[in-house]
């Protein structure tokens, strides 16, 4: 039984391994009219050593996808390949992957050491080597002093470190993370995601990470897969996803967004741009390739791209260039304004605010934005 367990020396081969391919993966539940498609023909390649995050609202199919990779669910159709090998033939325990769970899933009847040693014992690692490797894993997680504790004697953050050490110590070809940080408090979450990233880089293990937290996705990932209703909306680097979202959904889900109505859009002479009329002004903005052809399009302006200044007496009042402050929230490093304008409520974030310049609620402000920092995209259908 143990002979077919993934051997740990494969990691040392010259060619990097851990290329995970999902091909036309579909998962449906129920039959006939009750049939629900949770994952709808997904195609995705995770390159060796790459950190890919599946991001989306709850019910978008991200967890189901992860569980199909792990083998806890079987796809209705499609295939899952790891370095060209068909994974669907294998039960979860035969797949050279390890998963980190949202609930940590530590074995409550084992000490921290035994939890981490569990996978190595299954692989019949000699006692001396086992002790070394577990010791190293514990040390790299700062858990050495806790080796003899029971899991229920640890804090949430410590438990999650144990879970992480337990998964990494078996040197899987793919690490799978199912919202591992969602039970931790905000500060610890930030700290843990840096740690996860550091270790994953160090070990060079391909990783698939599921989360609904965009900050987590942005800070961890080489690439983000944004999912919605079982489909992939967009795959891209954090930067691509943020700056050039494929759809209103992605733009809205990642970060915060203002959408301005666009009345006229035509192809611009400039590469990747379109000429548009927005708020009565003609301008040239960066544009999605389908934005001009689309029956309707909107202009995405991120809150931090909006300039806010006090409205001076003699200034022109054109629709959209001014508004009244509805709400001003001071975050320390920034101020967030909600501004009521003739074209709707606009959110603006001013970073590094000077104390005297924080505009009080009720005051009139002038607003503007740089079209180079805006993005034209087809309106949601």
């Amino acid at each position: 039984m143990s002979t077919t367990l993934p051997t740990r020396t494969e990691q040392d081969a010259e060619k990097p391994t851990g290329e995970l391919v999902l091909r036309d993966v579909e998962k449906s539940f129920g039959v006939g009219e009750n049939r629900v498609t949770a994952v709808d023909h997904i195609n995705l390649t995770v390159k060796p050593g790459e950190f890919v995050t599946l991001l989306g609202p709850s019910g978008c199919g991200k967890t189901t996808t992860l569980r199909m990779i792990a083998g806890f669910e079987s796809p209705t159709s499609g295939s899952v390949l790891l370095d060209g090998e068909d994974m669907l033939r294998l039960t979860p325990d035969r797949r050279p992957m390890a998963m980190v769970f949202q609930s940590y899933a530590l074995f409550p009847h084992m000490t921290v050491f035994d939890n981490v040693a569990y996978g190595l014992k299954l692989r019949k690692v000699p006692a001396k080597q086992l002790k070394e490797e577990v010791g190293f894993a514990l040390a790299s997680m700062g858990l050495t002093a806790l080796a003899d504790r029971a899991p229920n004697q640890l804090s949430g953050g410590q438990q999650q470190r144990v879970a992480l050490a337990r998964a990494m110590v078996v040197k899987p070809k793919v690490l799978l993370f199912d919202e591992p940080l969602s039970n931790l408090d905000a500060k610890l979450r930030v700290q843990m995601r840096l740690e996860i990233r550091r270790l994953q880089r160090l070990l060079g293990i391909s990783s698939v990470y599921v989360t609904h937290d965009q900050d987590e996705a942005m800070s961890l990932s080489d690439r983000i897969v944004v999912m919605r209703s079982g489909r992939i909306e967009q795959v891209g680097t954090p930067d691509e996803i943020y700056r050039t979202p494929e759809s209103v959904f992605v733009a809205d889900f990642i970060g915060r967004a203002n959408f301005l109505d666009v009345s006229e859009a035509s192809t611009s002479s400039r590469e990747g741009h379109a000429d548009i009329t927005v708020l009565g002004q003609r301008m040239s903005a960066r544009a999605h390739r389908d934005a001009v052809a689309a029956p309707e399009s909107v202009l995405l302006v991120r809150p931090e791209a909006i300039h806010v200044r006090r409205f001076a007496e003699g200034d022109d009042k054109v629709a959209g260039n001014h508004g009244r402050v509805l709400n001003a929230v001071f975050y320390g490093e920034s101020v967030e304004y909600e501004i009521e304008t003739e074209v709707g409520t606009i959110v603006a974030v001013v970073s590094d605010p000077v104390y005297e310049e924080i505009v009080p609620v009720g005051d009139l402000v002038g607003i503007s934005f740089d079209p180079e920092r805006a993005w034209l995209l087809p309106a949601a259908s």
């Binding site: 998963m99 084992m110 029971a150 229920n152």
Partner: protein, 580 residues
């Protein structure tokens, strides 16, 4: 699009099935074994009862079921069931309420007293009650100077209520402990006083508990055979009627038919309970109550509650004191001279035979029942999706089917060699010419009667363990068996222990299925007690009962030593399971 409607779902279903993660070999073997074992142990006997009941003799009973005689039997059974259900539930509720909401000295003792009837043999209460409260009872005649007639409905109601209330007690106790006390606090915070909170919040939340306790006791009461035989007098109920049909009238068909009538309410209650369990309606089973329930401090309430439970405790103590003392005197209440003749009788010859045989058979059956129940629990909570309900149902049947029905089914099935045509697969396992004097059939009855308790506590324990823990183990490379051995089993050890204890106690004290299949070669204590009581030799019966209780208690103690979790760190979040 040219595919007809009918073929689409079919093709789809097929493709779904073929892509389902294949069950590993161990699981498949386990399923086949479990189905086979349950098939022989419970399904076959029931099928035989059914076919026997629709024989000519059986149909005659059904035809005359509404004749005045049978109608009287039917009515007696229902009246007894309702009375015992109501009284037992009230007793169980009172003791559970006191246990959860009151602080007092001797609380633990009261808890143990309330559980005592579980480990006591069926006649202990009946014989003691006759001795204490009968026509020539120590308390009734000697102390109060009255000579009531206990035989019949009054005696049966008292004895059965006292024998079966622990089931209601455990049920209510579990329910009350799982209630979120913040509900009471919420009611209090918006102005409800204690009494009003009790009536408008606490009681309504307990309705499912009352209902299920009542039904449980109702079924136990109508299924009981031992007590109607001893204390029933002319008051005939269905189980004693079936017994008379088989042992007195040699009319197996009629016996099967009567017992089939018993089977229906048993199964009905069982199904209702399952329905409730899946709905989880009113009960706020959060697993983690927000705090401890508020302790009742009102003096009048304390006095009333403590007096009532004190009286009950006194009654239970008196009854078991009677059992113990009764074995050491000539004839309790008439000649109270110290005397060891009863123990001499029981501990030598027939008595010691029965003692050893019963204990050995129960000891053989206990681990089998424990493992069977546990494997079923594991399959239905962790491994199976399709067919899970069916296996769960079959596994619990041993508990749902009244003992009388089971006994008759076993007699019908295993008194002759089992086979197809002339090819015998199994030799006769019960009755006269059976192999090993019918011991195998008795072990089989013990197993099927007690494996449901293992299954139930196993399911409860497994449901507490996050599936992610199993998945984590698999994801680290452990096969299903390895995960079970290294992770699941250690975590459910407390449940396993309570399952085993219950299995053993149940085996040692079971009677109604046994009387139909014991043979002269294989003597079982409970049926020996029956004949002693029948012959009026209460002293011997008391001695038997005491020894039986001692054996059960010592084995429980030993099991506690053996199966106690030793080296592991304190398991997180797993409350150690209680005896039921």
């Amino acid at each position: 699009m040219t595919i007809s409607n009918a073929t689409v779902p079919r093709a789809r279903r097929f493709s779904l099935r073929s892509r389902e993660t294949p069950l590993d070999l161990t699981t498949r073997i386990a399923v086949v074994l479990v189905v086979l074992i349950l098939g022989v142990l419970i399904v076959l006997p029931l099928v035989n009862i059914l076919s026997s009941a629709v024989s000519e003799q059986g149909l005659a009973v059904f035809n005359s079921m509404f004749s005045s005689v049978n109608l009287q039997v039917l009515q007696n059974t229902v009246v007894l069931g309702v009375l015992v259900g109501a009284i037992g539930t009230v007793i169980g509720f009172l003791l559970a309420y006191v246990q959860v909401r009151l602080e007092f000295r001797g609380k633990k003792l009261l808890h143990l007293l309330a559980l005592l009837p579980i480990v006591s043999p069926p006649f202990a209460v009946a014989t003691a009650v006759i001795t204490l409260f009968g026509r020539s009872g120590i308390i009734t005649r000697d102390l109060l100077g009255i000579t009531p007639t206990l035989y019949g409905l009054p005696g049966l109601t008292i004895v059965l209520s006292l024998s079966f209330f622990p089931a209601a007690y455990m049920n209510m106790l579990g329910l009350m402990r799982s209630l979120d006390p913040s509900l009471d606090e919420a009611a209090a915070s918006i102005g409800a006083n204690k009494w009003r909170t009790f009536v408008t919040v606490t009681l309504p939340m307990l309705v499912p508990g009352f209902a299920s306790s009542f039904l449980l006791l109702f079924v136990e009461a109508i299924a009981d055979l031992a007590n109607p035989l001893v204390i029933g007098g002319d008051f005939t109920v269905l189980s004693s009627r079936a017994y008379i049909a088989i042992t007195g009238e040699y009319n197996v068909g009629a016996g099967a038919a009567y017992s089939l009538v018993l089977l229906l309410p048993g199964l009905l209650v069982f199904l209702i309970q399952r329905y409730w369990a899946t709905r989880k309606s009113v009960v706020s089973v959060t697993g983690k109550p927000a705090g401890r329930p508020a302790v009742i401090t009102s003096i009048p309430a304390r006095i009333v509650l403590l007096t009532l439970s004190g009286l009950l405790a006194l009654l239970i103590v008196t009854i078991y004191a009677t059992v113990i003392v009764g074995g050491f005197v000539k004839i309790l209440g008439i000649n109270n001279e110290f005397d060891l003749s009863h123990y001499r009788y029981v501990l030598s010859g027939i008595g010691s035979d029965a003692m050893i045989t019963t204990t050995v058979l129960a000891l053989i059956a206990t681990p089998i029942a424990g493992v069977l129940g546990l494997v079923i629990a594991w399959l239905i909570t962790r491994k199976l999706r399709r067919g899970r309900g069916l296996i769960d149902f079959l596994g619990m049947l041993g508990l749902a089917v009244p003992g009388t029905v089971l006994g008759i089914g076993y007699a019908l099935t295993f008194n002759k060699p089992l086979g197809f045509g002339n090819v015998a697969i199994l030799p006769a396992l019960a009755g006269g010419g059976a192999v090993l004097g019918g011991a195998i059939a008795i072990v089989m009855v013990y197993v099927i009667r007690s494996s449901p308790s293992g299954q139930r506590s196993g399911v409860a324990a497994l449901q507490q363990i996050d599936v992610a823990i199993d998945e984590a183990s698999a994801s680290l490379g452990a096969s299903g068996v390895t995960t079970f051995r290294k992770v699941t089993l250690p975590l459910i050890r407390p449940a396993l222990l309570s399952g085993l204890i219950y299995a053993f106690a149940r085996s040692m004290t079971t009677l109604s299925p046994i009387i139909f299949i014991t043979t002269p070669q294989t003597k079982i204590m409970t049926s020996q007690i029956l004949s002693e009581v029948d012959a009026g030799r209460f002293g011997n019966a008391f001695a038997y009962c005491t020894i039986l209780i001692v054996i059960v208690m010592s084995v429980i103690g030993l099991l506690n030593l053996f199966v106690r979790d030793s080296s592991v760190p304190k398991a997180a979040g797993l409350s150690s399971a209680t005896i039921n």
